[in-house]
Every structure is written in C-alpha cells, then in structure tokens.
Symmetry: C3
Subunit: 158 residues, 3 copies
C-alpha cells in the first residue's frame, strides 16, 4: 500500500462501541501507511473531551451535563442500562486482551493520526478548545474536512 | 479541487442531527465545486417530505403517523424528550447563528446538489412522489445510486 | 462500469433496516460488476449468525442471550415495540414484493459478495466461526479490511 493513500473518518457518534470502531479503523489505516484524519463532530466530540462538564449558558450547560464526555465515560449504543453496559463491555474487552479506548486514542496519536474538531458543533454545544485533550490538533470547518475527504481513498461516516 | 470530483451521500437516518450533518457535508462539497448527490432512503425520506401524513393501507398509514416527516418536524437522535430536544437544538443553533435545516436544504438546491429518493423505500412505506417537496429531482433505484457512488471520491452512509 | 471497481462495506449495525440497506447496496454493487466485500463487525455479526445463543462465560452468555442473532430474528432500529415492528416491516416488505433479508443474503452469496467477519468482535463477544452461516468466507482483522477499503471506490460504514 502506497504512503500517499488517505483515509478520512467523520466521528459523529459518541457511543463507546462506534468510537471504538472508529479508532480501530483509524489506527489500522495509519498502521498500513495511510495518511489518516479523524474529524470529530456532534456527539463524537465527547471522545476527545477531557471529561469536565462544559457549556456557559443554561442550555449549553444542560447539554454539557447530559452529554458529559471523556473517552472513559462514554457508553455503548446498546445495552448500557445506566452504565452497567459500559462496565460489562470494558470488562469483556479487558478479559480478551483488547486495547482499551484510552490506549487506542494514544496509539492514534503515536501513529500521527490527524485529530480535528468541528468548529460549528463546538459553537452550538458551547465547547471550547480547552475542553479537549491536548492532542487535538486543530479546530476546523466543513471546508477543511472536505479538502481531506476529496483526496481520500477511504471516507467513512461513523 | 477540480470540478470533476464527486460526492455521493446516502441519507438513511431521519434524525435531525444526522440529517443536519448530511446537509452540512453536502453543501460543503458543492461549495468546493464537487458534483454532489444525496440519495434519501428509509427514515431519511422524512427530510424531504412536505410534512403531511402519508400512506394508504392500514400499516402504511400507521407508519406515516408514527413517522411523520417534514424538515422542521424531525427530532434529534438523542435527548429528544418528546420534542423538547428538537426545540432546544433549534434554539441553540439559532442563538449561535447556525443556518437552520430548512435553509440548508434550500442552499443545497441553490448549489445544485442532486436530490434523489429511493423507490424501494417509498414503495414499502407507501410514500408517493407528491409527498415530497418539489426540489426532489428523481425517484430512483439502487442501480442509479451505485452509478453515482462508483464515480465518487467521497461516499458516505449517514 | 469496469469490473475492476470495488466496494467495501463495514456492517457495524445489527438493526434489520440497516442490515437490509447494507445488503441492497452490496448486491447492487455486485450486480453492477463491482468486486464487493462486506466486513461484519460488532452488532452486524448478528446478520450472519445461525441464530443459536452464543458465548461461554457468564458475560459472553448474557451478551449472546440479549443479542441473539440470525438474519430473520433481528429487529429494526425504530418502532420495534418488542417484535411487532419486525413483523410489521416484514409484512410491508412482503406485500410490496421486496426481496426478504434471507433471500438478499443468498443473492449476495450468489453474486460472489465477499463475506468477512471481524475477529476482534468475535473474541470480545465470544462468538465462534461455527456460530456463523457457512457462507462466511473468512475471519479477519482490521488490516485485511483496510487492504480492501484502500482499493475501493465505494467505502461505507453502516
């Protein structure tokens, strides 16, 4: 596989299982020598939050509380049952020796996966650049995403 | 970016947030000079419905009532709480100066985004061409979608 | 359309409507002469299970019970209401002469769609190769998926 191939992944979902799939694919692409970009938007922003409650105004704050992020806090899209599902998935993954989500994130960073956050979603949800982990490289709009996607062999919306 | 690049987006979801993301990406692609097609199928058909209840037979009518569309009526995938979430998202977007969904749809039309509806889903859900807004250009099958997708740099399923 | 074009679809969802869309697109791609691969992972594995309860340990077994698969058993992402939705969708599809899911799966096999299962998800959920229908060709990792995707014109995550 040539180094010039590219993969660009929109991470829209904030569900643990989908974010996990996104990081597995992104690190797989980067490991195969592809130039890989993850564009986090909407609920996906939870995966790159530090985990503090975000938002200033009443609605932004409500959203921040209901939708508190941090890669170890997000739950699966099914069978969450108020957090039991998250615990169960984590335990099953650990038992099988699967790389946990926070280590996958670090692996993505180590493999030079480009982590971008969507400016418009941040504005709507009142999330600041400071609310993200330091590894997030840039806050960009849809035009920047489009530029990456148009040059990519692999484009996914997760 | 050359004008000959193409983007083809399947809009399967009828959730307000995902439909919003689909239109942001589609208008972003079109604004970047890409030849852009949106293929609406299943729940995504709600985004291009006029908003009347659809369906003839009992099951089709039940589906039409439970699943009433219209771009201003659809709710988000999370935190809807019987319509409060829709109001809250709309208010947050308006407060931040984000283009509302009905204007994004108009913008897509103005930018010559190709709006196609999936014939098979329409048949199953008993939706007629007349139930859609006039801007929907054509009712097509999967073969037409495939033809667009196979020529596209960017292919997404939302 | 040249025979050398490729489509690679990640089937992450196990919802009846999304799995249906995945098979419609995959068979559409194969019918158009494209070299087509479906990579089943997470909940998507339900679509290729024989339908027995899977799992050995307590957690794996719980997961197997809650998440019992088989292409005729999975329900839609919306309006399932404890199985009524599944019945209703099947009835609406049958009434309209739409190919049912199990026949679509057979059609995909007949059209030489490449059915792959994700090793990591199988390990986590304690699913064995034997739990799948015989048509599943191989159990692979993300590297194999990536190789297919990087050569594909159409890449989707469903």
């Amino acid at each position: 596989m040539s180094d010039s191939k590219k993969a660009t992944i929109v991470v829209f979902s904030g569900d643990m299982d989908k974010v996990f799939a996104a990081f597995i694919i992104a690190t797989g692409a980067a490991a195969a020598g592809m130039d890989t970009t993850m564009f986090f938007t909407f609920w996906g922003l939870n995966a790159i939050k530090k985990g503090k409650v975000t938002g200033q105004g009443l609605l932004g704050r409500m959203m921040g509380v209901m939708n508190r992020g941090g890669i170890n806090r997000i739950g699966p899209s099914k069978f969450n049952f108020g957090g039991i599902g998250r615990w169960m998935f984590k335990k099953m993954m650990r038992d099988k020796g699967v790389t946990p989500l926070d280590e996958l994130l670090q692996l993505a960073v180590d493999l030079d996966v480009n982590l971008l956050a969507c400016k418009m979603s941040m504005d709507v949800m009142e999330i600041a650049k400071d609310d993200f982990i330091d590894e997030v490289e840039d806050v960009v709009g849809v035009a920047t995403y489009m530029k990456h996607a148009a040059e990519s062999e692999v484009t996914l919306f997760i």
